[in-house]
Symmetry: C2
Subunit: 190 residues, 2 copies
DNA sequence: AGCATTTCTTTACATATGTAAATGCGCAGC
DNA sequence: GCTGCGCATTTACATATGTAAAGAAATGCT
């Protein structure tokens, strides 16, 4: 729980009042490796603080192929933000790639509490902006750089992740086939 | 100017007070076809309401090739949102594809005015969320659908745009070469 | 109206990357 | 210590899509 508060405070410093409000809303839970936090087709209701573990967000294309859109490596916030704020069905599932410890909360409750609360409203604005920026960053990287550059960036962004999850998940994140990732790793190691 | 207010009101209804605050901040201007509203490498300072015309947001990859990331078709808001909120150098230039009429405002002034103003804070939160959602939507479309599906969606999203800007800009938006777009159009018309 | 410029289509060709399948490697469980 | 299974690598091959260039069509300017 202290980790959660530390994490929020690193975005915007929060008042005592808001912190105690928060504290009451989050409850501890666990996700076994392979378990889903959100599935596609359902309406997301919860958000969670990922205290330990790795979660992937992925979508499935036309032909049933999976693509990893994001990794969440603790400490981080998980939950289908798009579905939560749009109130639409979720398109991007989130699944634990390792056993995870999380603190979850009802998004609806958070929304209720922020009604009329300037501080939480501002926190939500900043969270929205941060999501926007990290999405944009990833999008530009995907579009402007070739796969071996993206591979490098991925390694910086998620240090050590390659030791904890299979290679094909990385390939999927980079938008290439495992075969192609193998070729890149080969040339890189020469 | 009425158009601007109508446009904002369609997102969240605004109070008289906020509307008059706004009204004072936006001034009329024009963009000639080909002119830039923001360039890459500079710090964005302004936001604008696009009253008439079409603007593209595009980035340039490794090899100097341009890719159209978004079209803004009036009525719409333009300005490098990412650069404005992150205070970082801009990566995605915005250029008029037709002559445009705009109303522009200093983003810094808007920020100042929103300090402590719950209503504007909420407006900004919702704007951030909307940007996030439309980015996410485009990203998923790009990733999950093939080019001819994306072509269809593009036509729905920007009705009539094909008559107003060259085909190669559309191709660039779809992430394919003009040659390939031609092939798609050909099979589609059979 | 006629010429120049821009845009679109088509052809021919090159190539990067995916798919499929075989091989190799390493860790887990017995 | 052996066996089996999941994962990574490698090979061979297919193919979608890009590049380049030429020709056709459309647009616009004087």
């Amino acid at each position: 729980m202290e980790n959660l508060i530390k994490f929020f405070n690193s975005t915007v410093p929060l008042s005592e009042k808001v912190i105690s409000l928060m504290a009451g809303m989050f409850v501890y839970d666990e996700l076994k490796k392979g378990a889903y936090f959100v599935k596609t087709g359902e309406y997301a209701r919860e958000i969670a603080f990922l205290e330990t573990g790795i979660v992937r967000a992925f979508y499935v294309n036309n032909e049933g192929k999976e693509y990893n859109k994001t990794f969440f490596s603790a400490p981080s916030i998980i939950g289908s933000y798009a579905s939560l704020i749009s109130k639409q069905k979720n398109n991007v599932a989130q699944q634990a790639l390792t056993d995870c410890k999380i603190w979850k909360a009802s998004f609806h409750e958070i929304e209720k509490v922020s009604e009329g609360n300037f501080e939480i409203e501002r926190l939500r604005r900043m969270i929205a902006e941060n999501y926007f920026l990290s999405n944009e960053k990833k999008e530009l990287e995907m579009a402007m750089l070739d796969a071996d550059k993206r591979y490098l960036i991925m390694q910086e962004e998620y240090p050590g992740i390659e030791l904890r999850i299979p290679q094909y998940h990385i390939a999927s994140y980079l938008g290439i086939s495992p075969t192609q990732l193998s070729r890149i790793r080969k040339t890189r190691s020469l």
